[in-house]
């Protein structure tokens, strides 16, 4: 024991002399960014699931009621259980983020943003209370209200509305940080990116929960002991993936619209994403989207082939189309770190003229066309999979399909983190775009970067 104390003692002594007397405001910006960024990512990964489950769960319950299928009811019930388990985890991280990290590291910023966004945050707090109350009520009245399904579904509907409102209110504040507008509650709520961000995130959360429970069901399928469980988890995994893909194929349009608003109202951030230091991450994001669609199409083809159902061949052809589209989308525009660096070196001309520009990687028209093809091929894949489903016998899936479902969950989480990283870093060096810098949280005169001639 004494030896242990002798070992720890000097370490404590060293820490005592080296630790700052107060929170490291402005002293260790990178450390603060890493701590806040990583914890926010973790928070969003769980909160996105909870929000998505609270919106999708009631919808699945309703679908089960309309179709009179018990499997839907079981799936919705499972999502309800997930919400009751993980709501507190997500909330704890959020509270830790606010009370310790945001107030401690960026106190001035936090005070400012709460002052500006007081109404949205006030409403968000109450929708949070409503959401948690309804979530537990929805889950724990499942059996008692079995004879009053209409009432139970109404509770679920209210839960979905409360969850949507909560996300919307948070998005009002988050979008304000990127595209600040006049500081009154209505203009704040209607700032240029609040709307597209809310649609983008709502659709994203709905897709994310589909992919996530698809992966979860794949694990449960592999561990299932009874034929009934195998049937259920096989079906639910397929349903989750199908739902996730169906929601994700809306994102090219929604995401493009969001980017357009950023271009119009926060040009500096947009330039950074498209041509600056974040452009490699953006390229990764659009490539990852193609990989996700491709992986899902492969699952569809494999799942139909396992039971010799119709449509597997066409789905393989669609996979080839998806590979080609992903290759087109993954073309870098600048054959350097970014267009910004290439332009700075005076090499912004096509590579066959000795420059470092690859015209096939330009956003217009090639990446826009790639996004259109993503959507169209994914719709075709969903249609052909659904057409083939009557030939599928649930409970007969092989391990390969389950691995694909798990992989999709990982890809989705990567996508969520990538998008969060791009959005939060596009503002840099600002915490509130054009108004407050990260460095020492200094207020700056409100000057938005103005559009320049872009390549």
């Amino acid at each position: 024991m004494n030896a242990l104390l002798a070992l720890i003692g000097p370490a404590f002594h060293a820490l005592q002399t080296q630790l700052p007397a107060q929170a490291p405001q402005g002293n260790n910006i990178v450390g603060a960014q890493i701590a806040i960024g990583s914890l926010f990512s973790l928070h969003i990964l769980i909160a996105g699931l909870v929000s998505g489950a609270a919106e999708l769960g009631p919808a699945i319950e309703f679908l089960g009621y309309v179709r009179q299928r018990r499997s839907y009811d079981r799936l919705a019930h499972g999502l309800g259980r997930f919400i009751t388990y993980y709501f507190s985890v997500s909330s704890t991280i959020a509270i830790l983020l606010i009370t310790v990290l945001l107030v401690g590291f960026w106190g001035h910023f936090w005070t400012t943003i709460v002052t500006i966004g007081w109404w949205p945050l006030f409403i968000e707090a109450w929708t949070f209370v409503l959401q948690v109350s309804l979530a537990y009520l929805w889950y724990y009245t499942w059996d008692p209200l079995r004879g009053f399904k209409g009432v139970h579904m109404a509770i679920g509907g209210l839960l979905a509305i409360a969850s949507f409102l909560q996300v919307f209110m948070i998005d009002v504040v988050a979008s304000y940080m990127l595209t600040p507008s006049a500081q009154n509650p209505i203009r704040l709520a209607l700032n240029p990116t609040s709307y597209p961000l809310t649609v983008h995130r709502t659709v994203g959360n709905l897709a994310y929960i589909g992919f996530a429970f698809g992966g979860f069901c794949a694990i449960r399928y592999l561990r299932a002991k009874t034929a009934e469980d195998k049937r259920f988890y096989d079906w639910a995994g397929s349903f989750g993936l199908l739902w996730g893909v169906s929601m994700t194929l809306l994102q090219p349009v929604v995401g493009y619209s969001y980017a357009k608003e950023i271009q119009l109202h926060s040009y500096g951030s947009w330039y950074k994403m498209m041509f600056g230091s974040l452009s490699p991450v953006f390229l990764w994001q659009i490539t990852l989207l193609g990989i996700m669609f491709l992986t899902a199409t492969l699952y569809f083809a494999r799942r139909l082939r396992t039971d010799q159902a119709k449509g597997s061949g066409i789905l393989k052809l669609l996979s080839v189309g998806m590979v080609l589209t992903t290759l087109l989308a993954a073309q870098p525009y600048a054959l350097g770190f970014s267009y910004e660096t290439v332009a700075a070196a005076g090499l912004n001309r096509p590579f066959w003229e000795g420059g470092l520009i690859n015209p096939l990687g330009s956003m217009i028209p090639w990446k826009v066309l790639a996004l259109m093809f993503y959507t169209l091929i994914a719709i075709a894949a969903v249609v052909w999979y659904l057409r083939g489903l009557p030939g599928v016998v649930w409970g007969t899936a092989r391990r390969g399909e389950q691995r694909i479902l798990m992989l999709m969950t990982v890809f989705t989480m990567l996508m969520m983190v990538t998008m969060g990283f791009i959005r939060e870093n596009s503002r840099g060096p600002f915490l509130i775009s054009g108004e407050m810098t990260i460095q020492g949280q200094q207020d700056v005169p409100s000057t938005q970067p103005t559009p320049q001639s872009s390549p």
Partner: protein, 388 residues
């Protein structure tokens, strides 16, 4: 007094056969299930009639010239409270009509009511939808305020992207290189004469076909709705009552022939139709009184500080035009044209007897995504309504 009235009625009936006409019109057997969903068609008709009546009133005062169009409507706004409300009813019933006819189409699509033998009901319905949209777009030009002028500039420019004949169509509509007096008078002519001249006969054809083939055609009304995937568990067919017109109107799939349960059109369905239509008329009236029809400043082609805001029903296309790069705009404009052609061709593409939406993924999924995209583009574009 009663006997005289009866005598007068008999006299009238002897000459017009009104009694049998009413009987035929009111006592048709209609399916019981899903009756509330089927009120959208009659609500559409009521709103179109409201458009007609208020439109006639407005033509009594409106002057379709660039110097007086705005003045005449401004006179209503400033000096004629009743006229102002009539204009409000015209505007708001048009907005709600677009919404209701859209819902009616979506309902018909999802329930598979366009299938044999109702293909032509669907085709005339698509025609009506396009015409109503045309009425709304041309109507938006007429007030000749800033919003109307810039809407005219944008909308009349759209046909110019049509290959080969685009410039000709634009010049034909505008009557010149730019939007001006001839554009207004031509658009007025299209709005009050050309489109209604096609619209009302088409409504007649739609209703006649509806009566010929029987009401509704949705899967929930038929034996097929209770068919399991393996084709078993079909409940025994109920005793089919003699009805006019007889089901099936055409020798199609037996499962989709006679509705399981029927009731008389009057009073059962007419009461439901009446409730929904009356509620919509009340909503229109309240909106017309409380909000009214806006009238911006008179059109000024030389203005540089006016931000045009599209009409809400134009938002999906407007958002697409905003999003898509200049080079791809012709491609985008193929979408609505191709969409209408696809809608017209739908009953001839999806010919299977299956009506259950969950068993028709090849049609339902693209259709559902099309609806979703329209909703999402409207949502995304609605930011511009607040002039952000």
């Amino acid at each position: 007094m009663g006997r005289r009235l009866r005598a007068a009625y008999d006299w009238f009936d002897e000459r017009t056969a009104i009694r049998s006409l009413l009987r035929k019109g009111l006592y048709e057997a209609v399916p019981v299930r899903g009756a509330w969903f089927y009120t959208l068609g009659s609500a559409t008709l009521v709103l179109i009639l409201l458009q007609l009546i208020t439109g006639i009133f407005l033509t009594l005062l409106f002057v379709p010239s660039v110097t007086e169009a705005w003045q005449s409507l401004n006179y209503l706004k400033e000096h004629d409270a009743f006229g102002s409300i009539v204009r409000g009813i015209h505007l708001w019933s048009a907005y709600i009509l677009l919404f209701v006819i859209g819902l009616h189409m979506v309902r018909t699509f999802f329930s598979g009511s366009y299938k044999r033998p109702r293909e032509l009901n669907w085709v005339t319905g698509v025609g009506l939808f396009v015409l109503v949209l045309g009425m709304a777009i041309t109507g938006a030009f007429l007030p000749w305020d800033q919003a109307a002028y810039w809407t005219a500039v944008v909308v009349t420019n759209i046909p110019a992207y049509t290959p080969f004949i685009g410039s000709f169509i634009r010049a034909l509509w505008r009557g010149a290189d730019t939007v001006g007096p001839i554009t207004l008078s031509r658009t007025f002519g299209i709005h009050v004469w050309l489109l209604p001249a096609i619209l009302f006969p088409l409504i007649g054809a739609h209703l006649a076909l509806l009566r010929k083939h029987g009401e509704f055609g949705s899967y929930i009304n038929y034996r097929g709705a209770y068919r399991s995937r393996e084709g078993v568990d079909v409940p025994p067919a109920p005793a089919q009552r003699p009805i006019e017109p007889p089901y099936p109107a055409a020798p199609s799939d037996e499962l989709w022939a006679a509705p399981l349960e029927t009731e008389d059109f009057y009073p059962h369905q007419t009461v439901k139709d009446g409730i929904i239509s009356a509620a919509l008329v009340v909503v229109v009236f309240v909106l017309a009184v409380v909000i009214g029809a806006p009238l911006e400043a008179i059109a000024d082609p030389a203005t540089t500080n006016y931000t045009p805001v599209p009409e809400w029903f134009f938002l999906p296309l407007d958002e697409l035009l905003v999003l898509v790069p200049q080079q791809l705009i012709p491609l985008v404009l193929v979408l609505p044209t191709g969409g209408v052609l696809l809608l017209l061709a739908l009953p001839f593409i999806d010919r299977g007897p299956e009506r259950n939406p969950f068993e028709r993924p090849a049609v339902m999924v693209p259709g559902a995504f099309a609806v979703l995209f329209v909703v999402i583009l409207t949502l995304l574009g609605s930011g511009r309504l607040f002039n952000l």
